[in-house]
């Protein structure tokens, strides 16, 4: 069955990666995790995920810059930004660069699942 959909989580917190991995693995996703920008871009190229959960505020890198590079790799890649920031300028910039949704932490798991499903349907 090719019902496994590919999801990439980019977050510099190991706990978050582990949790998202195990959470979505139970929901028929093949989950890749990246702790930094390089890993994220390598996986984006090699695995061609359908959807990316991208943290904005990470140590030593800027999620918005990662988003830009990802869009250079694949213009149609669906990227959902996840962050504790609620900075309107950053949100605007992320949408301008082609992010498909924006979720603030702490997040409601149902909202995350709904956002992913909605955006995967839209493919």
């Amino acid at each position: 069955m090719s019902s496994f959909r590919k999801l990439l989580i980019v977050d510099d917190e190991q706990d978050v990666c582990d949790f998202v991995k195990s959470f979505f693995a139970e929901r028929n996703f093949q989950v890749f995790a990246a702790l930094n920008a390089e890993e994220a871009l390598t996986i984006a190229k090699s695995e061609k995920p359908e959807i990316v959960l991208l943290d904005i505020k990470m140590k030593g890198m800027d999620g918005v810059a990662v988003l830009k590079h990802m869009k250079d790799i694949d213009r149609n890649l669906k990227v959902i930004m996840v962050t504790a920031l609620e900075d309107q300028d950053t949100i605007y910039e992320a949408y301008r660069l082609g992010a498909c949704d924006y979720i603030t932490k702490p997040l409601v798991l149902d909202h995350l699942v709904q956002s992913i499903e909605k955006n995967l349907k839209a493919v």
């Binding site: 949790f19 702490p106 409601v108 798991l109």
Partner: protein, 458 residues
């Protein structure tokens, strides 16, 4: 020695508590939750110290009351349950008003089972939160705990499926939520019937279910934790209130001072010969007062420096009631005119007395022309009967008069003025205030900028 002897520090208590747990026999549930009550930590035979859960609770609740930061307490609970009860994971959701949600604030567990702190939140309408509201109490066991096994068992009940579809849907929604965070037990933390938080436990690694005693233990722990959390939140709110009141006080204080300054400026403006007088007297007064802060007379004032500041600014406010032709007379005053002028201190007090915020200095303003030996006006007060602040203003006032030009005489230099003050110590002035004045002068805190004052007079 038993740990109850004196109130132990949190670290000590926690260490003791973990030691107790560490030395427990292999069968965790029997030891931790054993119902037999031996001595504190030592069984009847005096052999290996054992923990029984009454001791745990006693220690925990005594510590909890001391917590100011509920997060520390919650971390301790989570760590203890995780380490000692061998569950897949433990987490605590705590209500945060600013987010109107229950936020996951601590969690333990193996990779992937652990929910990252600050990552998720549950809104108040989440089935898992809603189930703990009163109207749904029938969904929760009589212990108050929501048990995954019970939910699954109810869902298998054909009766519910066929006859109570609404209940069935509700149970299904709860099961979904519990699945999401892999909860086996959800223990509510109530304070005064308000749901402050939820303790979440994963399944036991042994695969066994939770015993009745264990659940009773969690309920007690959760309720004690709720009380500690409520206390901590109360303290936090209280501190905020105190800060608000302080801010308000500072704001009001500055309003009074500015009112007094405006009044003082109005007085000064009417009398060109004493231009800047009030400002200088106030500065001298504050310099003298600095040397007197510790003395008993000063301590009698609720707020010595502030009262002095306002009194000094307003000491001549009564000049408003003196006719211009006398106040601005270019030359010596007749005895009658002088009698008129002498009324200003009493007039000042009459003006200030009815004003709630400024009335506190009326007595001081009235007495600022009194003399230490009792020969002053308006009441002929003597020595300690004259308020300290009035005695200070008297010295500052005289010093400024001597060093300022008058229509009928030029100003004198500082040395002469100092000598004059010294000479009148004990007669016109209080010797203590004079010593404070001299001390302030020696320290360079009494500055007279004669040139500027003299030239701007006319």
């Amino acid at each position: 020695m038993t740990p109850q002897k004196k109130a132990p520090s949190w670290e000590k208590l926690q260490k003791w508590f973990l030691d107790q747990l560490a030395t427990r026999p292999k069968d965790a549930s029997a030891a931790v939750l054993g119902t037999e009550v031996a001595g504190p930590g030592i069984d009847a035979a005096g052999s290996l110290p054992r923990l029984n859960y009454q001791i745990f609770l006693e220690a925990a609740s005594r510590t909890m009351i001391r917590f100011k930061k509920p997060e520390h307490l919650i971390k301790m609970i989570v760590r203890t349950i995780d380490e000692q009860l061998k569950v897949a994971h433990t987490a605590v959701l705590l209500y945060k008003e600013d987010k109107s949600s229950y936020i996951l604030i601590d969690s333990k567990g193996e990779g992937g089972r652990k929910i990252p702190v600050g990552f998720i939140r549950l809104t108040s309408d989440n089935p898992l939160i809603d189930v703990f509201s009163e109207k749904h109490s029938y969904l929760v066991s009589e212990t108050g705990i929501l048990n995954y096994e019970d939910v699954v068992a109810s869902l298998r009940n054909r009766d519910i499926l066929e006859r109570q579809p609404d209940l069935y849907d509700q149970l299904l929604a709860i099961k979904r939520q519990m699945d999401q965070i892999r909860a086996s037990l959800c223990v509510p933390c109530y304070f005064k019937r308000e749901l402050l938080g939820v303790l979440i436990l994963g399944e036991k690694l042994s695969g066994e279910g939770f015993s009745r005693e264990e659940m009773g233990f969690f309920v007690t722990l959760a309720n004690d934790a709720a009380m500690a959390i409520a206390n901590a939140q109360l303290i936090e709110r209280l501190q905020q209130k105190v800060e608000e009141v302080n801010d308000l006080y500072l704001k009001e204080h500055s309003v009074f001072i500015h009112t007094a300054i405006a009044l003082a400026a109005a007085i000064d403006a009417r009398d060109p010969y004493t231009h800047g007088h009030t400002e200088r007297v106030t500065t001298y007064c504050l310099s003298i007062a600095k040397e007197l802060v510790g003395i008993p007379d000063a301590a009698n004032y609720k707020n010595f420096l502030e009262t002095l500041h306002i009194a000094a600014l307003l000491h001549d406010v009564g000049k408003i009631g003196i006719p211009d032709h006398i106040l601005n007379k270019n030359g010596r005053l007749t005895p009658e005119e002088y009698e008129e002028i002498k009324k200003h201190s009493a007039i000042g007090a009459t003006i200030l007395y009815p004003i709630k915020e400024l009335g506190g200095v009326a007595k001081e303003v009235r007495a600022h022309q009194e003399r230490y030996d009792g020969s002053g006006y308006p009441d002929g007060l003597k020595g300690g009967d004259i308020p300290l602040i009035a005695r200070i203003i008297a010295v500052a006032d005289a010093f400024d008069a001597i060093t300022s030009n008058r229509p009928y005489r030029p100003r004198r230099d500082i040395n002469e003025a100092i000598q004059e003050i010294k000479r009148n110590s004990g007669t016109q002035f209080d010797p203590i205030v004079v010593s404070a004045f001299l001390l302030a002068y020696e320290k360079g805190n009494i500055l007279v900028n004669g040139d500027i004052r003299g030239d701007t007079l006319k």
